[in-house]
Symmetry: C2
Subunit: 410 residues, 2 copies
């Protein structure tokens, strides 16, 4: 695929941290997370290989200008400090982890020893529907007699607001929700969902307050701080009954899991790709040039089995277009706004990012552990593992884990 903008020339040296060089967490990655309960609670961390570095401690003394931003309990203060600070922090950090002269002054912790919390305070959460393959599949499954895509679909990135208060960090168990669904008799029945699904997505985290909205596509780099992995858990039977005419609500609002790690956009410079061709042409406020999407693949694992590998590069709408559309009416942005991509699906069967698609509405079971499966069962662990090309090799974006636990007795 041709890249129409030159890749940035700067490639960092490999990290001196033991095991980092050549791993998914080398000096070209440097994601951010926030420590949960314990001695480091509220400190910002990064990861090299299988070690964590406490950035608040590392900045103490030498970079006291940054240390306040790195012990704020969430990434919000760091994000609000703005893009020059984001760049300065990353440059300082790159020097720390690549120049072995800093080795003696830094203490490293094994990744498993520090619990991680929700990395930022979510302001508004908007989930988009940006994959043509996903939207077409869903249209064919749910509305087999109509057009797969609504007439607006290729003119604007369709999206809706989700529940910010339901966003949880990777590792949080997900309780099977109860709700209304349409029963066999044509009347609603109440009980635990029978069609619990995952949606493999990326989330884009806004790091800037824009009270007047109207962000241009070209401003994405100074507006989006970073990227998270995102699982938009969905109860398909609840959703199917409730969603006309105002959209999904209870079928989605019980939980949305995001990764503990936020990958800065700067780490994805080498993953940039141009969007697929958009036809018909989009309105001027959605136009953009160059390599505006990302070559991220999300591996989807259910109950120990990889069921899909979904290509973000196949998405129809770019992150910048979602941002420009979201704000074109003057809607304000706040630090901590989260934009979900919508389910990432590619053209192939093994590239479908939801069980609704993988099982074609439950009619085509798939096999895991020798058993036939359609939707999620209690006890299933779902793991999303996004990766992308970095400057030195492949980098891991934030992994998202969650295990389904039983709901109310039916």
């Amino acid at each position: 695929v041709p890249v129409t903008e030159p890749a940035p020339s700067g490639r960092p040296a490999r990290s001196w941290v033991p095991g980092a060089a050549g791993s998914l967490f080398d000096a070209d990655n440097l994601p951010y997370a926030v420590a949960g309960p314990g001695p480091l609670a509220g400190h910002v961390l990064t990861r090299l290989g299988d070690y964590l570095l406490d950035l608040a401690a590392a900045a103490h003394g030498s970079r006291s200008d940054l240390s306040g931003l790195l012990a704020g309990g969430s990434l919000n203060p760091l994000m609000a400090a703005g893009p020059p600070v984001w760049a300065d922090l990353r440059a300082w950090l790159t020097d720390l982890v690549t120049d072995p002269g800093h080795r003696s002054g830094l203490s490293l912790l094994p990744v498993d020893e520090v619990p991680l919390r929700l990395p930022f305070e979510v302001a508004d959460f908007v989930d988009f529907y940006a994959s043509e393959h996903h939207a077409t599949n869903v249209g064919r499954i749910l509305r087999p007699d109509g057009e797969a895509l609504a007439p607006n679909w290729k003119h604007l990135p369709v999206g809706y607001h989700g529940r910010a208060g339901s966003v949880v960090v990777s590792g949080t168990p997900v309780r099977r929700p109860s709700g209304q669904r349409l029963g066999q008799q044509g009347t609603p029945v109440f009980g635990p969902t029978e069609r619990l699904d995952l949606e493999a997505e990326l989330g884009f985290v806004v790091g800037r307050d824009v009270p007047e909205g109207r962000v241009a596509t070209s401003e994405v780099g100074v507006t989006v701080f970073g990227v998270v992995g995102l699982n938009d858990w969905s109860a398909r039977d609840i959703q199917a009954w409730e969603y006309v005419p105002l959209g999904p609500h209870l079928g989605k609002s019980f939980a949305t899991s995001i990764s503990a790690w936020v990958t800065p956009l700067a780490a994805l410079e080498h993953a940039r790709l141009p969007l697929p061709v958009q036809d018909p042409p989009v309105l001027p406020y959605l136009r953009e040039r160059g390599a505006t999407t990302y070559d991220v693949e999300v591996e989807v694992e259910v109950a120990g089995e990889v069921v899909a590998r979904t290509p973000y590069a196949a998405m129809y709408w770019s992150p910048a277009q979602m941002l420009a559309h979201l704000t074109v009416n003057g809607a304000p942005l706040r630090v901590g706004d989260l934009l979900g991509s919508g389910t990432i699906s590619g053209p192939e069967r093994h590239q479908r990012g939801s069980l609704l698609e993988l099982s074609w509405g439950g009619r085509e079971p798939w096999t895991a552990g020798g058993r036939q499966r359609t939707f999620l069962e209690d006890g299933d662990e779902v793991v999303l593992r996004p990766t992308a090309p970095g400057a030195l090799g492949r980098i891991a974006l934030g992994e998202v884990r969650g295990t389904v636990v039983a709901g109310d007795a039916p």
Copy 2:
């Protein structure tokens, strides 16, 4: 209308504050607001007649246990303190403003001298669609060939998430939003909305964190702190083009205005009424008994002319049912969550709470100032004035004002 639960017997004495007795702000009202920029910034206020009382100052010394909650910059700390504190504060305040012995120790300020800010930090905003008259009218206008109500409508209170970051306080000008709408040629065009509308609603403010959700209808009194007036500004042409299949987004997300004043539920005890009969019967989690809705009327004024008086008592779904439905899937509640009722419309033409209905989709102009009108024009001021029976007379709930200002040149 029969009230199936006894009205509370306690009626306060009338207030000694000059002009308060017999006004819409007597001792049976006692709403809360928060002062904006100036010497009282961040202090909680109440209103008697045309005077404000600074509660942080009044509590200083004698009620130092409350004073921290009354100078917190928003109502969130007070709300989070819980229902016993809400009741204690109201009892103390009732004594202050009815016992003339307190007169010398309190300073009163004219209402016009203190700017008011957004009274609480909005967590999640969910807007419902709880009026059968409104939903039926909208169905007939927008989908004349189909059933007016979707099959789910009488089984669950349909709702969707709005944009919390777009909630603004009464008095904030509202810029006419631009966006995509379907043009005459069947392709989208971009520009300022040509169908800017108001929606007369009430908003219910959650004062309790409920991490596990599943709030029972009977818990509304310990969960909802109070009520605001709410104008859910809507761009009908943008909304009509975008809303299939995921619901309203840009057509709503540019601004939602709420009153600066929050009326505690306790002030509405004398306004309680039973719901209209629900047929078919609702599922068990939505069942409730007694007088669970409120006899609130919202006067709607556009450009100086009263265009409607909408009866909240005609709503099909109660606040407790909205709350129970919203959380039945385990969705958490947070202090500051805002539940909009949806447009309040009654059965009569002059009871329609939106211009979409008053002009029947733009096809039946109405008259203001001798001119024919359909949707909002630049310069129009919209005022919503909710009132209800109180213990001593009629009480005013929070008024919502907003003036439309021009958007981008088309």
